[in-house]
Subunit: 214 residues, 2 copies
DNA sequence: ACCTGAACACCGTTCAAGT
DNA sequence: ACCTGAACACCGTTCAAGT
């Protein structure tokens, strides 16, 4: 359920869901409405600022009503995480495999940077919901399609995930922490992420060349 | 303060600090004692299971006494994080720069895997305490010593940090989550981490060769 | 089936009060 | 200077009770 494809239609910032606190007819409120509200709150306050009570207030329902539509908070966070992953667009499929990977991870980073705390949650919990599986298949199609074996496919995906979620989590934190003296910065965040991405891809390219030659 | 060097003397699992709940004479309890107890609790329950009240109970002091030695919980977590970083040993300095980096990050991973939640905290907060600075200098010495410019030094350190903290955070999570059906695993964690580390180092080596030739 | 409020067991933190 | 308990404003979650 809640399979969100990447056309951006369900962006909680657009007006379609009516912003905050509309009223619901008896039995009308669905799990998707709850997740949409959670997504809206995450966009505003970050995942750490999300509570079941605030969510209920945002929806204009009684405090504990959300529990009727979502098992518990962990399940809610998983749904939010997966919804955010659903906003990562598919890459143009007429490009080379490495350019496609760059496209997926650069736009993935951009999406995750909009939702504070979501990258961190995805690092800690991989729920196996629809959009995570979609992304996993998308990447496998690119890598297996390029001729990589399943082992390399799996390893590369996990390394790239560590880099993406790790980078975004760290960037969000240092962006907020203007309070303390930040450590010296010789390169900005976009550049560092791109540098890491290129290192991984360069390694994969070398492996690719070796396989075609050998 | 609390500069912990890497000889392991302050490992909270050894008997030196007397385990739990000794009694303290008036004015005897120091910040280090508080951090040691927090480190012990983190080892047992993970950083997420640490609370100011549990910490006080562990120390056998009144609930709010910990606040006298530590400004707040965030400061406590920072101190724990830095103490854990202090357990990462310095690499043998008679080896090549890339082998030294492997040594630091492999042992760094091993240390972080013992303290659930600490890698995640370090991803979110970089406090600039003594041991973090020590590690930063250690890596700079290796990379600058090998002839890399400051920009590459900075970028490489950050990419390697994303990889390390991201990998450990993700590994800890999937290790605990035996409940749900885990996604297929073609490679185990050590192998994947080593694979990512090698990709980054291979890229750095290529850059190193190019600089020496050009 | 859907929704509600009270209640429980936790949190971090503040603060007046004690020695 | 060092330590304490009560109190406040939050949490997630359960559950008996309402429609």
């Amino acid at each position: 359920m809640t399979v969100t494809d990447s056309d951006g239609d369900d962006d909680p910032t657009d007006g379609t869901s009516g912003g905050r606190s509309r009223t619901w007819r008896y039995g009308e409120l669905t799990q998707d409405d709850v997740v949409d509200a959670a997504l809206r709150l995450t966009l505003r306050d970050g995942l750490a600022g999300l509570s079941m009570r605030k969510l209920a207030t945002e929806l204009g329902i009684s405090s504990m009503n959300a529990y009727y539509h979502v098992r518990n908070k962990r399940a809610l966070l998983d749904l939010v995480g997966d919804a955010v992953l659903g906003q990562v667009p598919a890459p143009p499929d007429d490009e080379a495999w490495d350019d496609q990977l760059v496209a997926v991870f650069e736009s993935g980073r951009r999406v995750l940077l909009r939702y504070p705390g979501v990258a961190e949650h995805l690092l800690v919990r991989s729920e196996g919901h629809a959009n995570e599986a979609r992304l996993y298949r998308m990447l496998s199609r690119i890598l297996i399609g390029a001729g990589f074996d399943r082992g390399t496919n799996d390893r590369a995906q996990r390394v790239l995930a560590y880099l993406l979620f790790g980078a975004v989590t760290s960037e969000m934190a240092t962006a907020t922490a203007g309070e303390d003296a930040a450590p010296m910065r010789f390169a900005d965040d976009d550049e560092v992420f791109r540098y890491g991405l290129d290192l991984v891809l360069e390694g994969l390219r070398a492996q690719h060349r070796a396989a075609r030659t050998g």
